[in-house]
């Protein structure tokens, strides 16, 4: 699950470019629901804190910092092979979270997440995001084999180096997990993402469904993997010569007709004159991660992943990635 997020986010959730008013009137329905749930979870914590307690409310906050470095083949999500761009990426994710048991079998968590993503070779794509996340978990019984249901929501502001690539993102997820035995856990998940950006090219609505599994190989080693399927908007990019050929019909009349209808603009994110455009697409994703626990609070992870985006006119954008990350809990 974690590896899936690390690998897939840079690929299919591109830079965002439109600032949206924070007023409720301008927000879509999913955003409203996400914010409502975030407010609700805040209220539950306030109630918990109002009760007499020997412990201060901030006790139990866990801060996790995760620096990561990776290499991405076709980071530009380009269909034309010769013009594809590869890059090394760096990422730092920091989250602070707090869990409370609100009832028997029910756990609620709130936290703040901050994330910085750097592509030194194509630094117009550098971006940061910040916002709250809340989760509600139910474990159906006691013990390691009890199934777990989790709902989580998040709302993030994203700033990007590319001037208009800023916006607000709302996420919601649902996951059911079950440990099968002493070393194997499996899960199924669904995720929804809406991003309202300054420019229509970067507006996103995505739905993802997937399966994941974690195999604890030994006391300190685990292997995890996921497969998932995404449906929705994906931002892709093209060199100016390729874009001109596509519009001229050299890639077929269907492609030309379709590309004339999609939101597009010259962004120069991957070179002079490069276009970015928003397509309706499906994507198949898989990821694998091998993790090693260095100590109680530090773990390293090597991960690899692949994404194959296929848009409505059957144009394909394969992306591969691999990298390493270090997570440390404070």
């Amino acid at each position: 699950m974690t590896a899936f997020v690390c690998v897939s986010r840079p690929h299919v959730q591109p830079a965002r470019t439109r600032v949206v008013s924070l007023g409720f009137g301008f927000m879509n329905s999913l955003n409203k629901h996400v914010l409502s749930l975030l407010c609700l979870t805040g209220g539950l914590f306030a109630q918990d804190n109002a009760q007499p307690s020997a412990a201060s409310w901030w006790e139990g906050i866990a801060v996790v910092a995760t620096p990561a470095a990776g290499r991405v083949e076709n980071i530009s999500r380009t269909s034309d092979g010769p013009t594809r761009k590869d890059a090394t990426t760096y990422e730092l994710a920091v989250n602070a979270g707090l869990n409370r048991q609100v009832a028997r079998e029910w756990l609620i968590g709130v936290g703040i997440e901050a994330n910085t993503f750097l592509e030194p070779k194509f630094d117009r794509n550098n971006r940061s995001s910040f916002g709250p996340r809340a989760s509600l978990q139910r474990k159906f019984g006691l013990g390691p084999l009890a199934p777990i249901l989790q709902v989580d929501v998040g709302y993030f502001h994203q700033a990007t180096r590319y001037g208009s690539a800023r916006g607000e993102t709302a996420e919601a997820g649902l996951r059911v997990g079950k440990r099968l035995n002493s070393f194997l856990k499996v899960g199924a998940f669904g995720r929804w993402l809406e991003h309202a950006a300054r420019g229509a090219v970067f507006d996103l609505t995505q739905r993802t469904a997937g399966l994941d599994a974690t195999w604890d190989l030994a006391d300190r080693w685990s292997l995890s993997g996921s497969v998932s399927w995404l449906d929705g908007h994906v931002v892709t990019h093209a060199a100016p010569a390729v874009w001109a050929k596509a519009l001229a019909g050299d890639l077929g009349p269907a492609v030309a007709a379709y590309y004339k209808t999609v939101p597009r603009e010259v962004t120069e994110l991957y070179g002079p004159g490069w276009f970015s455009y928003n397509t309706e697409a499906r994507a198949d994703l898989w990821s694998l991660a091998l993790a090693y626990r260095v100590s109680e609070s530090v773990a390293v992870e090597a991960h690899a992943g692949s994404t194959l985006v296929v848009n409505e006119v059957d144009v394909r954008y394969p992306v591969k990635s691999w990298g390493i990350s270090l997570s440390s809990r404070f």
């Binding site: 699950m1 974690t2 020997a54 412990a55 006790e59 139990g60 866990a62 996790v64 995760t66 989250n95 979270g97 869990n99 409370r100 048991q101 028997r104 756990l107 968590g109 989760s135 978990q137 474990k139 006691l142 013990g143 390691p144 009890a146 777990i148 989790q150 997990g177 440990r179 002493s182 070393f183 856990k185 974690t214 604890d216 190989l217 030994a218 006391d219 300190r220 080693w221 685990s222 993790a291 090693y292 626990r293 109680e296 609070s297 773990a299 992870e301 997570s327 809990r329």
Partner: protein, 216 residues
């Protein structure tokens, strides 16, 4: 004054035989390949009724610490009626529970620095877990006697008890059932050796922690 001295003398005279006849039982526990077995619990349950001397001291309290996302002790043994404290000396929250017949309980999520306690009245083996950290497991063995010991890394344990007849019970988390025999302690120390077949260790593998907190 003379009567007080006489009374004190009588008390001492009665008590002296009770304390002077204590003997030690040395137990060595080995696996089927001759390897020492630590964490085996040896207890002596008096068969003479009433037990001589009677159990007059309150049971010694127990403590099961959580630190480094583990229970500090794999096996803890206490006398029935003992209070056991569960201090969280970790950097994360824990939710300690047991589904065992001898004591079903749960201590809802509590913070580092906090401690909760429970009285264990019924004899038996209590399997402990943390509902957040699946790999955390420990065993509390509750015995109906103050005469007990746990084998150390070398597989040895020594129990001292007054002379008399006892039911010797040997327990281990990986034994299918306790090994029971009868033993008579006299004025001299005795030794016993056990060779036991342990079930495979099916503990949950810990693996690296996820980045997310909560149930995993």
């Amino acid at each position: 004054m003379r009567s007080l001295s006489f009374f004190a003398g009588c008390i001492l005279g009665l008590a002296a035989p009770l304390t002077s006849v204590a003997a030690s039982l040395s137990v060595t526990v080995k696996g089927t390949k001759g390897e020492p077995v630590p964490d085996a619990v040896v207890s002596l349950v008096p068969l003479d009724a009433p037990p001589t001397p009677p159990f007059v001291s309150p049971p010694v309290p127990g403590e099961i610490v959580q630190e480094k996302q583990e229970f500090a002790s794999y096996v803890t043994v206490v006398q029935a009626g003992a209070r056991v404290v569960f201090p969280n000396r970790d950097s994360v929250q824990h939710h300690v529970y047991s589904l065992s017949k001898a004591k079903k309980f749960e201590l809802p999520l509590y913070n580092p620095g906090q401690a909760k306690s429970i009285v264990f009245d019924v004899s038996g083996s209590v399997t402990l877990g943390c509902n957040i950290h699946d790999w955390m497991v420990a065993y509390l063995v509750v015995v109906p006697t103050p005469y007990y010991a746990k084998t150390v890394a070398g597989g040895t344990a020594t129990v001292s008890a007054p002379a008399g007849r006892y039911r010797l019970e040997l327990q281990h988390p990986r034994l299918t059932a306790p090994i029971v025999s009868e033993i008579a302690l006299g004025s001299e120390d005795i030794a016993r050796e056990f060779s036991i077949a342990l079930k495979p260790d099916r503990r949950i593998r810990r693996g690296p922690d996820g980045k997310a907190a909560g149930y995993r």
